[in-house]
């Protein structure tokens, strides 16, 4: 459960309106980001997490331009680096709910090493992966998930490199939580985000996001006709990594959405540190002089 140290905190439950911002959105009409923001607000509110109890971390890209259009403590950093920033933030205070947002460019291009680090360390935060198959904010260049042959800005004869399959890649690293959802289904996103927020450790959510301006190959309707909830798949259980790998593979005809995999015995990063398991305080509350003299005396 998230909590803060605000001296004059109200006892009321969190409301959707708490996350309201007066700043106007400037995304394209029909951008998938609108639905994602709405779902994030709903999920946080449903979990009774107030804006002062959360840190939302944004990468650079179209989604990042929403960093000042939602409530909460927020950080809008550098392209590709949001995951390692959130890793650090999550170690310092586990009482605040950390959610990071990044696109397919920053996450699988410039900063793919940070995704690996976050999964392997099982840092305690949620990552919303906006996958719209292109670099939107720099006007439609190819990303690591753009399909081969597609003509993009700076690739006039079509993409010649093999794409990265995000879920295959993530599951190969044995994450403790991996989900997929679709930006056209706010309700499903809300449910999925809540499951991720409640997970202990690193929760990865791929959002299949429509980009009405630059991704003309797989628009909203294309996804809508293909997504299939794992709950509706007969006998699906999300505690089996191999099954998740099998079901998560198809990105063309029947695309599985929902919590594909969750390890209920997940031990988050800080609980894995041998010298921190008995410690009850948070790093943010521990800034005071340590045993310097004792350390020095060992050298006598």
């Amino acid at each position: 459960m998230a909590s803060c140290n605000c001296p004059s905190h109200t006892k009321e439950d969190a409301k959707f309106g708490d996350y309201f911002s007066e700043n106007l959105y400037n995304w394209c009409t029909n951008c998938g980001n609108y639905g994602i923001h709405a779902a994030v607000k709903r999920a946080l509110t449903a979990q009774n997490i107030k804006p002062c109890q959360t840190l939302l971390c944004f990468d650079i890209g179209c989604h990042g331009n929403g960093s000042d259009k939602i409530g909460g403590y927020r950080f809008h950093g550098l392209h590709g680096r949001v995951l390692s920033f959130a890793c650090g933030a999550s170690t310092a205070n586990s009482k605040l709910k950390v959610i990071a947002f990044g696109g397919d460019g920053g996450t699988l291009g410039e900063g793919i090493n940070h995704l690996i680090m976050a999964i392997r360390g099982n840092y305690n935060f949620t990552f919303v992966f906006h996958n719209n198959l292109n670099y939107g904010l720099t006007t439609g260049q190819a990303s690591a998930t753009t399909k081969p042959g597609v003509k993009m800005n700076a690739s006039p004869d079509g993409i010649t490199t093999e794409p990265i399959h995000p879920m295959r890649f993530v599951l190969s690293l044995h994450p403790t939580f991996a989900a997929r959802t679709f930006s056209g289904d706010v309700h499903h996103m809300n449910e999925t985000f809540q499951a991720a927020i409640n997970h202990k450790g690193f929760s990865f959510i791929e959002v299949l996001q429509s980009c009405p301006t630059y991704n003309l190959m797989t628009p909203h309707e294309w996804y809508q006709n293909r997504v299939k909830k794992v709950e509706e798949m007969k006998g699906y259980k999300n505690d089996n990594l191999e099954l998740a790998q099998k079901v998560g593979e198809d990105l063309e005809s029947q695309i599985a959405i929902g919590v594909l995999y969750q390890n209920k015995n997940s031990i988050p990063f800080m609980n894995r540190q041998a010298n921190r398991t008995e410690v009850k305080t948070e790093l943010v509350n521990e800034v005071q002089p340590g045993p310097a003299q004792e350390l020095f005396d060992h050298f006598r």
Binding site: C4, N5, C6, P7, S8, N23, K50, P51, C52, Q53, L55, I60, N65, S67, D68, G71, G72, Y73, R74, F75, H76, G77, L78, R81, S84, F85, A86, C87, G88, A89, S90, T91, A92, N93, K95, L96, N113, H114, I116, M117, A274, N275, R276, V279, E282, L283, V284, E286, V287, Q288, P289, G290, P291, A292, Q293, L295, F296, D297, F299, R300
Partner: protein, 583 residues
């Protein structure tokens, strides 16, 4: 030859032979005898082979630098014997355990001309005969060294017992080896006369590296997280803090690259703890975009930049002071920062604490420069200097302090805006890498952009006013002042102690820069006005501090002693320079 009131001992061998451990035993035993010691390491970027040494200089007065010549040398490998034989001083003696070793004609001539002696002791055979292992030859050789030093064996025995406390079964045979080495009856050795007095008080001193002291300073500063990627000469901060993390409960983590390191630390700092990172030049290059990010988001960031010679991989295990420009200018855009330089064992402990107070008060990146000479040399200290009290400069957590979002990056005269950490108040904000309004909202407005940029840059002026002037060290009335920064301070101090004793009418003092940027010039302007003779001493080729001071004062340094071969300054080269330049 000047009497430098010290004796220098060099332990030489290959990487992997435990040269450094032997050097440390020698230093500890000399301290136990009641002397001040200083330990200097040279070693290649190799795990096995090459040639390495650990040199211990000792005296009855504090010393923190090396002589470039030694009185005694102990050799464990042929390559190192031949490499370092020429460093023997007049009347110096060398002892080795290498069968059939032959001197070249050149070496014979050199040793004869300097009256050097070379002795062979079959220590590995002896150790096996005594019933020990071949590795115990090290104890035999050290004891033979002790015999030539003409020092009592008991302090050395005491140290060996302590060293092997965790392996009691090895103590007896090592003590037997010590006795055998001490009583070996090597023909023609000339026992030294240690011509300065010992003081038992020294026995309680500590022996530790600059990296140990930076780490302990971080503990004093309340650092709760340390992130790093291994890179010489910063790596031993990581291993030391990890070895002590059960005592400190600090989070100590090796991460996947320096970009992750910088970003993770920024995340932890933004959330509100104190996190530290350390690296060397190449790693810092990777961090520079994050330094720039700290600049615009006004997130405190502290990085130890342990210098070694570049460019690129350069000389990985050697020393330099070539990254002052990097520290001051790295990162795109214009933003305030603070650059501080450690110059000795005391400042290794204290300046890291100032670095955090400054980084948090001004909400800026702060870079603490050290170098390999500081990081890895073995310093002797009586006690830690007083700790610097922690000042976090956060707004206090009282209901009447309730800030509003637009206070966070509020435009102020000092440039400093109120800072509170996530979860501290209900009013939230955005730390935004885009230019922003006072609450962090993105803006591209011409006027606000300029005002916000100028607000941040005003912090430089405020900080400059707060920083102390560089310190004058040594005789106040000296007519000559050496301007310097970083580890050269140590060789300068040791050399000037001798110079000023010998030259009462040609006294020389020092102007030491520790707070490098923003740059204070008041003291320097006084010296210029009073027509002092100024000499610049730097461990680089560009005279980087000199250029910075010229940029700020217009004064051009004409007399410079610069060095850029990976080695630190030795006392003789400073003394010789003064002899040639001060008439």
């Amino acid at each position: 030859m000047i009497d430098n009131r010290r004796i220098s001992v060099k332990i030489t061998g290959e990487s992997g032979q435990g040269i450094n451990s032997i050097g440390e035993v020698v230093a500890k035993a000399l301290k136990e005898c009641g002397y001040y010691t200083f330990g200097y390491r040279e070693y290649p970027s190799l795990i096995k082979g090459g040639h390495a040494f650990h040199q211990v200089d000792f005296s009855d007065r504090p010393l923190n630098s090396s002589s470039n010549q030694v009185d005694l040398m102990v050799s464990f490998s042929r390559v190192s014997f031949h490499q370092y034989l020429p460093t023997l001083r007049e009347n110096g003696q060398a002892i080795h355990m290498l069968p059939m070793l032959e001197l070249t004609e050149e070496e014979k001539a050199l040793t004869t001309s300097k009256n050097n002696s070379v002795f062979h002791l079959p220590a590995d055979e002896m150790s096996v005969q005594i019933g020990g292992k071949a590795i115990m030859a090290n104890s035999i050789m050290v004891a033979a060294l002790w015999k030539i030093l003409n020092l009592p064996l008991e302090p050395l025995e005491k140290i060996i017992k302590k060293e092997f406390a965790h392996k009691p079964e090895a103590i007896k045979s090592n003590l037997a080896c010590l006795a055998a080495g001490y009583d070996a009856n090597i023909e023609n050795i000339r026992p030294l006369n240690v011509h300065f007095t010992a003081h038992p008080k020294r026995q309680n001193d500590a022996l530790l590296t600059g990296n140990n002291l930076v780490s302990i300073g971080a503990v004093s500063a309340g650092v709760r997280a340390y992130f790093a990627y291994p890179m010489t000469p910063s790596s031993s901060i990581l291993s030391y803090l990890a070895d002590e993390y059960h005592e400190t409960n600090m989070l100590v983590k090796q991460l996947d690259d320096e970009i992750s390191v910088a970003q993770t630390a920024l995340g932890a700092m933004f959330m509100g703890t104190r996190a530290l990172v350390a690296t060397s030049g190449g790693g810092f290059d990777l961090m520079t975009e994050s330094v720039s990010l700290a600049g615009i988001t006004e997130t405190p960031f502290v990085c130890v930049l342990a210098q070694r010679p570049g460019p690129a991989t350069g000389l990985p295990t050697w020393t330099a002071a070539t990254d002052l420009n990097l520290a001051i200018y790295a990162g795109h855009g214009e933003y305030p920062r603070c650059v501080i330089s450690v110059s000795d064992s005391n400042s290794a402990y204290t300046l890291i604490q100032h670095a955090f107070n400054i980084a948090e008060k001004y909400q800026i990146p702060t870079i603490l420069l050290t170098d390999k000479q500081i990081a890895e040399s073995l310093y002797q200290m009586g006690d830690l200097p007083p700790a610097v009290s922690i000042k976090r400069s956060l707004i206090s957590n009282k209901p009447d302090q309730n800030p509003t979002s637009s206070d966070r990056y509020k435009i102020t005269d000092s440039g400093i805006s109120p800072r509170w950490i996530p979860g501290q108040f209900e009013e939230t904000y955005v730390g935004n890498s885009d230019e922003h309004t006072p609450d962090g909202t993105v803006t591209e407005d011409a006027q606000i952009s300029r005002e916000m940029n100028q607000k941040r840059l005003r912090k430089l002026k405020t900080l400059e006013e707060e920083l102390p002037e560089p310190r004058i060290l040594g005789p106040q009335k000296a007519k000559t002042t050496i301007v310097t920064w970083g580890s050269p301070l140590n060789a300068l101090t040791d050399a000037l102690n001798i110079w000023n004793d010998n030259n009462p009418k040609k006294q020389v003092n020092l102007l030491l820069y520790e707070f490098m940027y923003p740059t204070k010039t008041g003291e320097l302007r006084n010296l210029i006005k009073n027509k002092k003779k100024l000499i610049l001493v730097e461990n680089n080729e560009f005279a980087q501090l000199g250029a910075l001071l010229t940029q700020n004062t217009g004064y051009i340094f004409t007399e410079k002693l610069l060095k850029s071969n990976g080695r630190p300054f030795f006392i003789e080269e400073i003394y010789d320079f003064l002899q040639n330049n001060i008439k």
